[in-house]
């Protein structure tokens, strides 16, 4: 499909466990159009994490073709993948994954550092992103000084700051209480409403139900 931001064609990923090969993803094809909010749902062991790694360009498919924003990922080396991640993908993790002992502002500014953005512009853009998420009064706080919900907001700000084509959220509410979780989901919907493509990975059918489209994974295959 032309114009798709994510295009997986017959993608498989098998892990070589020495004596036998374990298929984590088998012949998966998926298209995500710009502006979509897609939830990838499945129980543990269904291949969600592998899917997330491949979509996030942290891993390469064993076979099949993955195009992110039109460009094939298979030919890229590690540096090329890093560049693609830096430009096109914003990650939101279950465990926030903020840099420890680093202020919220510096955390959000770090992706820009790897894009070679100047110090002054980094600070301005990171501050703007944090303010947009209502964290403008927490710029100098380190992760340990923030609640789980606040940390996840900082993480979302970090995912946003590079203006990526795609936001990949891996169980973003998994570590949060239901209220903060609802907050973060509301935030993601708000971002989606303003035109961002969001792929959400979750095992929770309730969370998945809020997405525009659900993709169900089971045993490494798309079942629905």
């Amino acid at each position: 499909m032309d114009g798709a931001i994510i295009s997986l064609e017959h993608v498989s990923r098998t892990y070589d466990m020495g004596r036998m090969e374990v298929p984590a993803l088998a012949d998966v094809s998926l298209q995500v159009m710009p502006g979509e909010f897609v939830a990838i749902v499945g129980p543990s062991g269904s291949g969600k994490t592998t899917m997330m790694n491949i979509l996030g360009c942290l891993d390469r498919p064993t076979s099949g073709d993955y195009r992110l924003a039109g460009s094939p990922v298979a030919d890229l080396d590690d540096d090329g993948l890093a560049k693609l991640r830096s430009r096109s993908i914003g990650f939101v993790f279950q465990s926030y994954n903020l840099l420890p002992r680093t202020t919220a502002l510096d955390n959000v500014a770090t992706p820009l550092l790897y894009q070679g953005v100047s110090r002054g512009e980094r600070a301005t853009r990171a501050k703007a992103a944090l303010e947009r998420l209502g964290m403008g009064d927490r710029l100098d706080h380190e992760p340990t000084e923030l609640s789980g919900g606040q940390q996840q907001r900082v993480a979302v700000a970090r995912a946003l700051v590079t203006e990526p084509a795609l936001i990949l959220a891996d169980e973003p509410t998994g570590n949060l209480d239901s209220r903060s979780g609802a907050d973060v989901m509301a935030l993601l919907h708000e971002l989606n409403a303003s035109g961002r493509t969001i792929v959400l990975i979750t095992h929770d059918p309730e969370i998945a139900a809020t997405a525009g489209r659900q993709v169900h994974l089971r045993d490494g295959r798309i079942v629905a």
């Binding site: 560049k83 991640r85 994954n97």
Partner: protein, 395 residues
């Protein structure tokens, strides 16, 4: 990423782990400081010896009786005259010395009074600052005239206008006819603290007899030193009627050679000490490597995060390498300052002042840089090669 960004990143990292950074740097600090201090002290010693070498007088042979200062001397003024007739002799100056109280007006001091001849300044490499040195007539007639060393003169409060002043040496009146130029030598004996008088005067009024303590001889050509030394030995053995089996009752001492040897020993020792000290620098480097490896382990997750949000392997490599370099360079700089302070302190105590050698500093900086690179590269490569997926899941 620019070097400035990397530096900023590593400095903020070191700030959050101050104690760890300080302890890691301590290894390099001690290493560099000991190299700088030991080499500084070594070079101070060498240059001290070299300057004393120059101050001794060129091609100097010293003849003294066996048994040091205590025994009776068998060297006589006739021996001196006989040595003067040997070939390749530049000058011969006999010396008899005695410690006496010297006073001028209300000031007095105890110093070495040396009886000698007009050849003395040439043999011992002194220059006259004021007045004149002992002359042949004053020596021939055992006159009570004195030439003061620079230190003695200033102790007694005598200056350029005081030539001709009466002073008292060992209770007898002497006239000051000259003051020597300061040699400014260092070491255990101040070469400027002495009073020189005609040799006969000392024998007549203070010591008695006609033996001399020391004979200084300059040889006209440097390559004649050994031959002349042999010739003097043969001459004196013959004059003293020594049988071939009897040991000599005097020593011919080539001080220049001795000090030259000492200087080369000191230079070798400097190298040796520097070498030993650089071992501690290597140990300091291993300390850096150790802490960097621990740091890579501890920060596995951080590395995973950084990679996920766009850091390339080389960004991570650079970050860790610059961190190791910051530790080693900062440690190196502190070590240099500390080493210079220590070597300046020792130089002050030993009296040769502060020997500053820019080559040592440059070498120390380069060495600590090298330590940072050598011991930082491996941990940094380990960090750079981490797989982002595994690193992100690392607890």
């Amino acid at each position: 990423m620019s070097l400035l960004e990397l530096l900023r990143l590593s400095l903020s990292r070191l700030r959050t782990h101050r104690l760890r950074a300080a302890l890691t740097m301590l290894g390099v600090i001690i290493g560099v400081a000991s190299v700088v201090a030991l080499v500084g002290v070594g070079q101070g010693t060498t240059s001290n010896i070299t300057s004393r070498l120059a101050g001794l007088g060129t091609n100097l042979l010293t003849i003294s009786p066996t048994g040091g200062g205590g025994g009776t001397s068998t060297l006589t003024l006739d021996d001196v005259a006989a040595i003067g007739k040997l070939p390749a002799i530049g000058g011969v100056a006999p010396e008899i010395s005695s410690n006496m109280t010297v006073s001028a007006g209300t000031k007095n001091t105890t110093t070495t009074v040396v009886g000698t001849t007009p050849a003395y300044p040439m043999v011992r490499a002194y220059d006259i600052w004021q007045g004149s040195f002992l002359t042949d007539p004053s020596v021939d007639h055992d006159l009570r005239v004195a030439v003061l060393g620079a230190t003695t003169a200033s102790t007694l409060g005598l200056g350029e206008s005081d030539i001709g002043t009466q002073i008292s040496v060992g209770g007898l009146p002497f006239r000051v006819i000259g003051i020597l130029q300061a040699k400014g030598g260092t070491g255990f004996q101040d070469p400027d603290d002495q009073v020189l008088v005609p040799i006969g005067t000392v024998e007549k009024y203070f010591v008695g007899g006609d033996t001399v303590r020391t004979i200084g001889v300059t040889v006209s050509e440097a390559d004649q030193m050994t031959a002349t030394s042999t010739a003097i030995t043969a001459l004196l053995r013959d004059r003293h009627d020594l049988a071939a089996t009897t040991a000599s009752d005097f020593n011919v001492f080539n001080q220049t050679q001795l000090l030259a040897a000492a200087s080369s020993i000191s230079a070798t020792l400097t190298l040796l000490l520097g070498g030993i000290a650089s071992i501690s620098l290597i140990v300091g480097g291993i300390g850096i490597m150790n802490i960097m490896l621990v740091s890579v382990r501890e920060r596995t997750r951080e590395i995973g995060i950084r990679k996920a949000i766009g850091a390339r392997g080389r960004d991570i490599l650079a970050q860790f390498l610059v961190e190791a370099l910051t530790l080693s360079l900062l440690g190196g700089l502190i070590g240099i300052v500390l080493g210079l302070v220590v070597s300046a302190g020792i130089g002050q105590l030993a009296g040769w002042g502060f020997v500053f050698n820019p080559i040592t500093i440059v070498a120390a900086v380069l060495f600590s840089l090298a330590v940072g690179v050598i011991f930082g590269v491996w941990p940094a490569r380990q960090a750079a090669r981490l797989d982002p997926i595994t690193a992100l899941r690392y607890e």
